[in-house]
């Protein structure tokens, strides 16, 4: 018998399989646009020092992943006989619908990106690790398509779990714009944005913070599934740190800094639009422990700063401003109002806010009443008067030409309700924030051709040029009218506010 060897005695032999090509050119084998080496000052053999900490092998991968799946799917099958998640109420179901509509196909898109690194990344150990990343993402897509599939028999909005990104719904347009931006880049640039900013930065929020809400609510299946997903993310996200270590060694962090400043902001905007309202408005109030703002501070700000400080990177240039923004979370409150007002465009049943909601929101976000309460008062009044239609938008709004979300997001402190504009090749582009404008201005050619839904409308790409036409364009036409968002508390919740005596200090800004 040959002697036994421990993993650390053979792992490097397994993963150091770079060789010098002889029959084809190096540039052909690792084209610059896919590999990205020319963008950085690292010498060719510098990349061979690439090293991450997990060093997972195929043998271990099969075993642990098999175990993880076994445990998740056994919970799932045990839940089949239960009335979950429907018994947990429409509010929690909104959280699930939003999550499943926006997450699984992005995970599948990450399979493409990870596979691109597994082919074109400049080092064999990185390619090896990246392939396990691709496998992880495949798992996440599969898991998060299988779970909601069993719900479509009860509620057709879950159909969007697979359908969302095949439509032109505004969430799909915004989600794809962000992910395509990270994906349509060379391996190094892309991995910095996806594995460092997106995964080490934000997946904690979606998978751990939301799992904690799920556990409180009693949705064991969802809690188990997404926390299991995060264990994979935590591993393959290490690619980003390993890249930054090499760049740091060669004193070449400028480009990485730019990409991380850019992608961190982009992630923040999207999560504020989708996850913020889920946590602060849709999770039943009695099951909310931390607010989106608190989760952001604990999970994102502290941890991301720690990650940044472990590298030679600096905080993003907009950091101080960003901290003020997330404490008030006005983007997210604005988006929650937007979800409600434009609810026919969403496959979730967005509810009006209850008295308990408002007390909770004011407690978590002092000043919420003053800034946002009056908007909900107006909706409540319309409800009381039997004017449900008045609570639903009949117009379109200006959208940011970078993040594809509303270009005015009513952050009074940060002047975000000032529309930013920029001229490029005779065209005027609109932005929600200095950050989005900064990203666009850095690479206008990359972004200029993309048309926001509003731009399509104005250009006549959407027919008929009515709200119905826009809904049809978004995949919410007449045939799918039953999938459109409704207010599941309507009209009764309006009565909650009959005797509501708003404090005289409320200013009631008319910014919409």
């Amino acid at each position: 018998m040959l002697p036994n060897v421990r993993r650390e005695e053979w792992y490097q032999t397994a993963t150091n399989t770079n060789w010098t090509p002889e029959y084809v050119d190096e540039e052909e084998l690792f084209p610059e646009g896919m590999s990205g080496k020319e963008q950085y000052d690292v010498p060719d053999d510098g990349w061979e020092e690439w090293e991450e900490t997990y060093k997972q092998t195929a043998r271990e991968y099969y075993e642990t992943q098999h175990e993880k799946d076994k445990s998740i799917y056994s919970v799932s099958s045990a839940m089949e006989q239960s009335d979950l998640p429907h018994s947990l109420g429409m509010g929690w179901e909104d959280v699930l619908k939003f999550h499943f509509a926006s997450v699984p196909l992005l995970e599948r898109a990450a399979v493409t990106s990870e596979s691109m690194y597994a082919r074109f990344a400049p080092d064999s150990a990185w390619r090896h690790m990246a392939h396990f990343g691709a496998m992880d993402e495949l798992r996440h897509a599969e898991l998060q398509l299988r779970i909601p599939h069993s719900f479509v028999k009860e509620d057709s909005q879950y159909d969007w779990s697979k359908k969302m990104y095949h439509t032109e719904d505004w969430v799909s347009v915004a989600g794809r714009h962000l992910f395509d931006d990270f994906k349509a880049a060379n391996a190094i640039d892309s991995a910095l944005q996806i594995t460092f900013a997106f995964e080490t930065g934000f997946t904690n929020m979606q998978f751990l913070a939301l799992a904690s809400d799920a556990a409180d609510t009693g949705d064991i299946e969802f809690a188990e599934a997404i926390s299991s997903i995060q264990t994979d993310e935590a591993r393959h996200a290490q690619q980003g740190t390993a890249i930054i270590e090499i760049l740091d060694k060669y004193d070449d962090l400028d480009r990485a800094q730019y990409l991380i400043d850019k992608s961190f902001w982009r992630c923040y905007k999207l999560f504020a639009a989708l996850t913020g309202p889920s946590m602060d408005y849709y999770t039943p109030v009695e099951d909310r422990e931390m607010s989106w703002g608190e989760f952001m501070e604990e999970w994102i700000v502290d941890q991301f700063l720690e990650n940044i400080e472990n590298t030679g990177l600096e905080k993003p240039w907009y950091w101080d401003d960003f901290l003020k923004t997330i404490r008030r979370a006005d983007t997210s409150h604005f988006m929650a109002g937007g979800h409600y007002h434009w609810r026919p465009t969403l496959p979730v049943a967005t509810p009006g806010v209850t008295e308990e909601d408002r007390e909770w929101l004011e407690e978590k976000y002092p000043g919420w009443e003053e800034r946002w309460g009056y908007k909900w008062d107006r909706h409540a009044e319309a409800m009381r008067n039997g004017n449900v239609e008045k609570t639903i938008a009949d117009d379109l709004i200006v959208l940011c030409d970078l993040c594809q979300l509303p270009a005015i997001d009513c952050d009074h402190v940060h002047d975000h309700n000032r529309l930013r504009t920029y001229e490029h090749n005779g065209e005027t582009y609109f932005f929600c924030s200095d950050q989005c404008q900064w990203i666009f201005e850095n690479e206008p050619e990359r972004y200029a051709d993309h048309k926001s839904i509003l731009r399509r409308f104005v250009d006549g790409d959407i027919e008929p040029q009515t709200l119905e036409g826009a809904l049809e364009h978004m995949g919410m036409g007449e045939e799918n009218a039953h999938e459109r968002g409704i207010d599941f508390r309507a009209p009764d919740w309006g009565d909650d506010w009959k005797d509501w005596n708003r404090s005289s200090s409320v200013t009631g800004k008319s910014d919409d």
Binding site: M1, L2, P3, V5, E9, W10, T13, A14, E22, Y23, V24, L29, M34, A58, Y62, E63, Q65, H66, D69, Y73, R108, V111, T112, S115, M116, A118, R119, H128, A130, H131, A134, R139, A141, R146, H149, V152, D155, Q157, D159, Y165, H166, E168, H177, D180, K183, A184, A185, N186, A349, E445, R446, Y447, A448, D449, H450, D461, H473, H482, I486, F488
Partner: protein, 349 residues
Amino acid sequence: MSENDYPMKEQTYRTYSTWDERRVPTTYDIATRRTNFDIGENYAGEAPRLSMSSDTTLSQWYSEYREGSVIKGNPKDFESWRDPRELTYEKYNDLMDEREVGIETLYEQAEVLERGTERDDDPWLEFQLEGFLPLRYPVHGLQMLASYLTMVAPSTTISTAMSFQATDEIRRQERLARRAAQLEKAFPDKGFTETERETWENNEMWQPLREAIERLLVEYDWARSFVGTNLVLKPLLDELVLAQYSTLFDANDSELYAQVLENFYLDADRHCEVAASVTEHLIQVDEENRKIIQDIVDEWYPICHRAVEAFEPAFESMPPVTMSFEEVMADIDSSYESLLTAHGLSVPS
């Protein structure tokens, strides 16, 4: 409309509405089909469906090598290919975990039985050092090829099968490295783990294979890459380095590792089945594809066959107990011929 009616709960579905076949979808269909949103056209009828400028490398790459492939068919045609084993991620890991446990059991049994499962004379060690263990380099190349096909395949079904294939290649690559490390520990200073790269890059026997791998790696058209890899190189090479090497190891009193190679061969068998099944499907989609595939086979066969033919010394002169290479090649050629003729294709003369 009264909002209390909850229309989304009144009008529901039996399965995802993206499903467009009459039969009931399986778990595989639910998890795999139509999951890549950048395949197909955007709302304005342009492909690929990417949000960034069409000048970005990825957009141009897809246009040229995915949408612009030599093979005929549209996204729906490609998406309707199904893995004959309906492997989901869950099923795949379950299967492979079992397969790796199988290898461990082989080792444990050998230990219990205290069988002399390893020959350790110099010629046999040298054969492994120069004729076998450098294989982890081309196997890494095969992983890169499968990873490339995962990213560029025109359907999520093909992409998913390729992702599993890439993991299989990594499994081999790791086991080969582990064996090299074991041999290094048992027989230090022979050069195990240190000299394989040098052999791969300079030893004459390996050069035709290196040429085939390198050239395939820059064959970017998805169909040409797929056919060249899965329908030409791998069926020939896997037959050589897994099936025939297994016999060679057995003949050289290395029964244990002969069984490990057989264990790997089970993966190769699936890769070949995928190759055959995708080929069959493409021909069903458009009969013209038969000729297109044949042309790709004709183009890649000489270089890939040469890669395999170069291994004569590994059978006839390097190991202590030799095998007739003529018979080895006859076996390889005959299984390759049956693979092609089953699909109305032929082996180039």
